[in-house]
Symmetry: C2
Subunit: 456 residues, 2 copies
Amino acid sequence: MVNQFFYPKTIAVIGATADPKKFGNAVTMNLLENKNLQSEIFPINPKSELILGLKSYPSILEIEQKIDLAILLVPAKAVPIVVDQCVEKQVKRIIIISAGFGEINEEGKQLEREMVRKVQEVGSKIIGPNCVGIMNLDIGLNASFVLTPLKGHVSMVTQSGSFGAACLYEMWWQGLGFSKFANLGNMADVNLTNLLEYFKDDKDTEVVCIYLESVIDGRAFYNKMKEVANIKPTVILKGGRTIAGMKSASSHTGSIATDYTSLKAAIKQSGATLCESLMDYITAIKAFSFLPLPKGKRIGILTNSGGSAVLFSDNAEEFGLEIAEFSKDFEEKISPFLIPLVKKVNPLDMIAGADGEAYYNVTKAMLENPEIDIVVPCAVIPTFLEMKPDEHFLGVIKAWNETGRKKPILPIFMSGSLLKHVKGIAEDEKVPIFISPKEAAFAAKVLLDRAKKLQK
Amino acid sequence: MVNQFFYPKTIAVIGATADPKKFGNAVTMNLLENKNLQSEIFPINPKSELILGLKSYPSILEIEQKIDLAILLVPAKAVPIVVDQCVEKQVKRIIIISAGFGEINEEGKQLEREMVRKVQEVGSKIIGPNCVGIMNLDIGLNASFVLTPLKGHVSMVTQSGSFGAACLYEMWWQGLGFSKFANLGNMADVNLTNLLEYFKDDKDTEVVCIYLESVIDGRAFYNKMKEVANIKPTVILKGGRTIAGMKSASSHTGSIATDYTSLKAAIKQSGATLCESLMDYITAIKAFSFLPLPKGKRIGILTNSGGSAVLFSDNAEEFGLEIAEFSKDFEEKISPFLIPLVKKVNPLDMIAGADGEAYYNVTKAMLENPEIDIVVPCAVIPTFLEMKPDEHFLGVIKAWNETGRKKPILPIFMSGSLLKHVKGIAEDEKVPIFISPKEAAFAAKVLLDRAKKLQK
C-alpha cells in the first residue's frame, strides 16, 4: 500500500517553479537531477508554460496521463482545493509538503481530517502535511527538498524532516546510504506503522530506523515494531523524553508527544534498539550496516594507547560486555608480534611503537581465537617513527578480510584532525570507524543485544 | 618548582639519533623544528659525532655548559646509569621517556624508587618514566615524541601519554590549543598535584585539564584541585571507573587505580568539572575556552529543525537547565523576523526556510533579552532555496559580536559531511561549534555549574 508512494511512474509537482528561492524548485530539481529515475515528471504552475525545460500545466486536471503521485508545494490555503483536484483526477498517492495545518491550530487539524476523509473515499493516501518529502534511492527518486544522499540499505521514517536531513548528512559522512526515506510530518493519514509494515517486507531495506515524537496508534505500532525487529535490525530514537522535550515536540508537530516510559518498555520488549541521542542513533545504524553479529560478549582489545583501552574497558563493563581472558596458548601465539615490554593481558597495550604489521597480526590472532567474540583494535594515530597514519587501519582490515569478516571488529581511531587519513579507506572498504571508546562500546552493546534477541 | 621543566635554557637529549625509526629522533626533531625555541639543544649519543646538524656528545658529562633539562630515551637497562650521570652533572630536571619500569613489575618499581632517591639528594626532579614527554607552547618547546599542537591557553596533565595525544588531535580539530602539556607516565616522582600547583599560578594557563587513573597522594591532590578550581575551570576525566577499567588501568601504569566513588565526591566538592568520556572532556574544554559564563540557567533556542530542538530540550531538562518563557514584548520584538507560520514559543522553530538574516536578528534579540541567559542557535545546514551553507552561522556570529560576546552561545550545526562549510569560520572567529544537541546541552551544563560555583 505504502509501496505505491515509492514506485510512481508519473509524478505531478504542484507548485513547481523555476525560481530557485522556492521549495517548489528544490523538489523539481531533485526529481530531475537523478538521471536514473524513469518516472515522468509533470510540473504544475498556472503562471508558467515551461519549467526547467518541461511543459508546465495550469492544473493537474489538464494532464492527460494517469498520475501516480502528486507532490503539493502550494500555500496552505490552496492545499484543500488542490487535494480536491487530485481526488477528481484519482491520484492514489499525495504528498503534502506545505506547512500550516495541524501543527498550527485546531482549525488546521480539522482541515487535515477533511482532506483525509475525501482522499480515503477514493482509496487514496496522504503523506504529510508539513514534511520534506520521501525518497527511494533504489530507483533514483528524491521527492523531497533535501539533498540526495548516498544509496544504501538503510530505510528511515522520521517525524521531523530536518532531523532526517541531519541524519542524512551524518550518515553520508560515515559512508552510509539509504534505500528508502520518508518524513511523515503531521501524519494526518499515513503513519509510522504503515512505513514499518512496508520496510519489513521491502527486500532492499536491511536496517530500519525511526525517529518519532508521538505514536498515534499505540498497540498497532508496537506490534508492527516487534514484527520488524524480528526480521531486521530496528533502531529507534524518541524526541520528547522529558517534560521540556514533550512540550517542545507538541509545539512542533501539533500532536501530543508519547510518554517515554511506556514506549521504552515496549521497545525493549520488541527487541528493537533504543537510542537516546543522535550520535548513538548513527552509531547503531553504522554497527548494523557494516558488521556481523557476535556469537558472544567476550571482547579482545589491542591498543597502542593504554588510557584509551582503560576508557573502553569502563564503557564495556557499563554496557554489560566482558573483557576476555587470554589463554596461555593465545599468549604464546601473539608473543612473536610483540616487543618484550608488552604485558600479555587483555586489553593488550602494545605501546606507542606498535606498527601496522603488529596490528595486522594481533587482530588476526584475535579474530581466529574461539575465546574472543568481538575484536576492538584501538589506535591513536602515530605521527612518529616514520609510521604511516593509515598503516594500523590497513593492517586491521587485512586481518578482517583474511578471516572472512565473520566476527565484528570495532576499530577505534582517536584521530581528530588526522581522521582524514583513514576516512576514505573506511568508505572504500566498507569498514566502520569509531572515534571514541564510548562510541565503539555502544556499537558492541547494540550488536550483542541483537545477537541475544535472535538466539532466543 | 615544576616550572623549571617548562623553561629550560639548555636541554640534553640522551639517546638522540638521526634514525627516524627511533623515539630519540622524534623528540630531537620536535625540539629542533620550532624556530621560536630559544633553548640550546645537546644531542647525546656515543655512536655519533653529528646528529641532525648538531654536535653530538658521548655523554652528558662531556658537555661544558650547565644542563637544565635532560630527556632520556635510552633502553630501560641503561636508564639508571644515565640518571647517575645526570646527578653527577647536577641536572635539576630529568624526563625519562623510556618504558620498562614500574609498569612492568615490582623490580621496576624498586628501580624507580632508587633513581628518585638519588636525584632528590641533589634537589633534582624526575618526570616519568614511561611517558611521551612535556610541552610548553608559550616558548615553542615540544619535549615529547608527539606532534606539536596548536598554541593556546589550555594546560593538560595526563597519566596516559597516548590519550593525551588523542586529546591533542581532537582539540586541534576543534581549534583549541595548548599552553602546557605534561604526560607523567608512572609518576615515580613528579605527580598530578605538582602539576596542578604549577598550572594554578601559571599566567598563560586559562583552562586546566587532567586525565588520571590513580591518585597517589589523596588529600594533597584533593586540596590542590580545590584551590585550582577556585581560580580556573578545571576539567577532569578519570580512566578506571569500573572494575574492568581499574584492572586495565593497573596493568597499564603499574599503579592501583583510584576508587571512583570517593574521587567523584571529592571532585564534586572541589567544583571541578567531571567528565566521563573523551567527547565530554573535549566539549567541556571547548566550552570553557570559547565562552563566557552564563548569569543563569534560562535558555533561548532558535532552530530551523523542530526535531533537533526537541532533542536539545530533552537534554536540557536532564542536565537541569531551563527553557525560558518568552514575554509578550519579546514575541513582538521577534515577530518582524519570522514568517506568519512560526509559533512564537521557545524553542523557536523558524522552519526550514529561515535564512542567515533571520538567524542574525533572532540571535541578537535573544542575546539582548534579559530573561535569557544562554542562547542556542540550532541549524540543520540547508541545501536549498539558494541559501549559503555558512549564512546561518555567520548571522549568529555577527549577533554575538555586536552584543559584545557577553552571553554564552552554543551553535549546534547538524551537518555531518557539510561541516567543512562552517569549520574554518569557527576557527578564524574563535567561536565553538557543537555537532549534536547533547554536546551543546552538556556544554551549557558545565558552564552553568561553574557559574553557580563562583556565585557561591
